[in-house]
């Protein structure tokens, strides 16, 4: 079996790629996709620690399930906001959308 740290390295790499995507992309949908990547990295981490450290305890799997819920809620509401903003501003580029700046 592959050691724990290799799973963690994969998870860290996916997470950092997600961070880069969130910080650098201009399109709101692309940013949401990057956030999904980060949440997936979190899940890999949770399950890796669950398997290697406490496989008899249910916490790792239960937490991963809750991460799924959060990811789904985030995607649903986030994409709905993107659609609503597009309807009003005809743009999904985050820099064009500065309603709060007044």
């Amino acid at each position: 079996m592959v050691p724990l740290w290799m799973f963690l390295v994969v998870s860290a790499a996916v997470f950092c790629i997600g961070v880069y995507g969130v910080l650098s992309r201009r399109n709101a949908v692309a940013i949401l996709m990057s956030i999904e990547l980060m949440l997936n990295a979190v899940n890999i981490n949770l399950l890796a620690f669950w398997r290697f450290v406490a496989p008899q305890n249910m916490a790792g799997q239960a937490f991963a399930a809750f991460v799924f819920v959060v990811a789904a809620a985030e995607a649903a509401v986030g994409l709905a906001i993107v659609i609503a903003v597009y309807r009003n501003r005809r743009s999904v580029i985050v820099e064009d959308v500065n309603l709060l700046r007044g």
Binding site: A65, F68, V69, A72, A75, A76, L79, A80, I83
Partner: protein
């Protein structure tokens, strides 16, 4: 443990081999079929008239709403399947917990229904 590993090894081999079967007729067809393409033939098919405008026409938001309701129910199953699986070992309290869970989601469906979000119009 080893038994489960074997089952997943089967799935792994299946996934890495099974795609060959549908690809095979495509390859055979690629070897034998004629190639006489021209610009007119490769045009987008649209009832015989030339296509007008962009392919990315504006779609109704209704499609998104259906996807949304589906997503919510799909995630619900993450919890309901373990619940159903362990149901025989659970106490009556578990039935109540599952009932509350389902009721909260049914609320969402009723809301969507009341707001006419489920109409195809």
């Amino acid at each position: 443990m080893t038994a489960a590993v074997n089952e997943w090894a089967f799935i792994g081999v299946f996934m890495s081999v099974a795609w060959i079967l549908p690809t095979l007729p495509l390859v055979v067809s690629w070897l034998f079929r004629p190639r006489r393409a021209n610009a007119i033939k490769l045009q987008t098919y649209e009832c015989g008239v030339e296509t007008v405008g962009d392919t990315w026409v504006q779609f109704k938001v209704q499609y998104y709403i259906y996807g949304l309701v589906f997503l919510v129910f799909d995630v619900e199953l993450v919890f309901l399947f373990p619940w159903a699986l362990a149901y025989n070992q659970l106490s009556f309290f578990a039935f109540g917990a599952g009932l509350l869970f389902i009721f909260l989601l049914a609320d969402a469906l009723i809301y969507a229904w009341r707001k006419n979000a489920l109409e195809w119009a």
